[in-house]
């Protein structure tokens, strides 16, 4: 086991993938010499060369569009979109091309492309640098959408995403890049949880709290605080947003009878809505209270001096937990 920051864990995962498969490429803005604005690709160009770690021109549609072409030629490109809010110029290529190519070709074409996107707020950034656009992609058939929350998962999930024969949108919780965790960089991926499975990070009996990405840590802190009030919160890191691991979600709700979902993305038409609907369909008679959601407001992301109000924190999560006991 090694103690690594989350960003270094992704870096190590990318390095492993580059070593194991000569078809793996890294491409994006500033990913080469600079090592990316968050240094996630630090040192990779030096070790694997400019043909495999490609500093691209500054155009997101171009990055994804040419990655599709490289994948058609048999490569496995890993694209970096510098910030969440910069992915939109590439949305046509992602939604109309990348996601649909297998279907359109009736299975003749595979596009094993990974698109890494640092997402979420909490770093005091200017606008377009703190967004959570994951639902756009979860709503698009043909894409897998995942979010890592800790260093060990980051290391395994990036490699699993790269070996996936389907396109994966890989969300990285940017405000947790510097969080450290224990990572076994020697063990293979055989023991790793499959990419489409949710993970119970803290067992509990009174209420199920589902979240992903940057809020997993917040949820854990909330659960620890709730313990002092004698409440046992089960925290589940969803990890995969498309597909959702509905079995794990419902098994937990059947046990606890209460369900809260938290994410930074706006509550309206968010992942929480999907979970609420599925839980209601599958375990209606187990529910002691309605499914409650905590998340961003139905507004654009606010200026950073206001982001503490916008982002769900420990108190807002516990407020929702309290409310589920009001029924």
């Amino acid at each position: 086991m090694t103690s690594l920051t989350l960003s270094k864990a992704i870096n190590e995962g990318l390095r492993k993938a580059l070593e194991n498969d000569p078809k793996v490429l890294i491409m994006g803005e500033d990913v080469g010499k600079l090592g990316g604005v968050f240094r996630v690709t630090d040192g990779l160009q030096k070790d694997f060369g400019e043909a495999r770690v490609i500093d691209t021109p500054l155009a997101e549609s171009g990055i994804v569009g040419t990655a599709i072409g490289l994948a058609l030629r048999g490569y496995r490109p890993v694209c970096e979109i510098q910030f969440d809010g910069f992915v939109y110029p590439a949305v046509n290529q992602i939604i109309s091309q990348l996601a649909k190519m297998r279907y359109r070709s009736r299975g003749h074409v595979s596009l094993p492309v990974v698109i890494r996107i640092p997402f979420g707020g909490g770093i005091g950034a200017v606008e377009h640098h703190s967004e959570s656009p994951e639902v756009l992609f979860a709503h698009t058939a043909g894409l897998k959408v995942v979010a890592c929350a800790d260093a060990a998962d980051a290391f395994a999930m990036i490699q699993q995403s790269i070996s996936s024969d389907d396109p994966v949108i890989f969300f990285e919780p940017k405000r947790r890049y510097w969080d450290k965790g224990e990572v076994d960089t020697v063990a293979g991926l055989a023991q790793a949880l499959p990419l489409d499975r949710a993970k119970t990070v803290l067992e509990g009996t009174d209420v199920s709290l589902f979240t992903y990405g940057p809020l997993v840590r917040t949820a854990l802190e909330a659960a620890l605080a709730a313990r002092q009030d004698g409440r046992s919160i089960e925290v589940i890191d969803l990890r995969s947003l498309s597909p959702l691991d509905v079995d794990t979600i419902c098994a937990s709700v059947r046990k606890t009878g209460r369900c809260v979902v938290a994410h930074e993305a706006p509550v309206y038409a968010g992942i929480g809505a999907e979970i609420a609907a599925r839980v209601t369909e599958r375990c209606f008679y187990h529910l002691e209270a309605p499914v409650l959601r905590v998340g961003g407001f139905a507004t654009p992301y606010p200026p950073s001096r206001l982001e503490d109000h916008y982002l769900p924190d420990l108190d807002r999560i516990l407020d929702a937990v309290d409310r589920t006991f009001g029924y």
């Binding site: 043909a51 549609s61 171009g62 569009g65 040419t66 109309s96 058939a141 389907d166």
Partner: protein, 410 residues
Amino acid sequence: MTVESGAATTAAQHEQAQHQQAQHQQPAPEIVDQEGFVQLLTPEGERIEHPDYPVELSAADIRDMYRDLVLVRRIDTEAIALQRQGELGIWASLLGQEAAQIGSARSLGPQDMVFPTYREHGVAWCRGIDPVKLLELYRGVSHGGWAPEEHKFHLYTIVIGSQTLHATGYAMGIQRDGAVGGNPENPEAAERPGEAVIVYFGDGATSQGDVNEAFVWASVFNAPIVFFCQNNQWAISEPLEKQSRIPLYQRARGFGFPGLRVDGNDVLACYAVTQKAMQAAREGQGPTFIEAFTYRMGAHTTTDDPTRYRLASELEMWKLRDPIERVRAYLVRTGLADPGFFAEIDAEAKQVGARVREACRTMPDPPPMAIFDDVYSEPTSILREESEQYAAYLESFAGEATGENGGAGR
């Protein structure tokens, strides 16, 4: 002409006035005596030489091209008729663009990769795609569904210009495979013919961001690619003037690679310029932009009505430059083909037309559960659940008596 205004003006008057205004605003495009315009066969069927493009084509080669031109036009005519009869949802006609497509596509090697728009029926023909496969798409039976790598012909792309980036990425892959010829660092390259990519798009597409990004990428990475722009003068109803203030081929210079304009209705010239540009790309000399100056003689698609925005006289002018007539005139004039040859081709065209018609009319709809196929390499849990539920729903009707319209999923 003054446009009347006010409540008394009828829509018809207004339209007529606009139409007449349009006459003043849109002079017919000039195509002769343009600087650098490559032409090897005049509209009258006279062979002319160009110092940069000495083509070596046998009489048989030219007869083969004539055959291609006639057959793809026949398939196109058949498809339009099938749409009118309700057998196809829509069709995008290639009428008038046969030479640009056949000339360029016949110059390709089997190792080269092609990225088409949705109108490249002539190119598809040259890559061995069964025309019936194209009809599947326009009938709504599939989204394409041929194996791109097998034919080295990618799926039709409908969102304008998106494929130029795929083509550029593919060309970057050729570089990474060491499959560009003339690379001294790669000993294998000398024994290989070298590979390159050709991507097709239209005059309207040149306004798209993706196309301009593809130019930037191809240029800075020196990718082995040919950008083949069929300037058919019209992007649905918008004339070239709405896309560009300069001739399109001149755009290439700003991106850092050569551009040229060819008579897009001259199959020999299209063959020659594409062959040369592709060879340069295969040898590591980077991209070329080819503007094939042609004309969309039909509607944009079968849902379009060009009489609303362009003059019949323009079409008449372009009919004099028909891409097929000039080859026929050349073959007759030089005695390279006899009446028997033309009769044979006409008979074959009839046969191909009949086959396509029959295949289209008897094409079955896919089974309903095919909706769920090939979304992912393996169905996800969500998809499995939905498909099981829908199968059970369909199954629930199994016992019901089925009349003409009875039963779901039929």
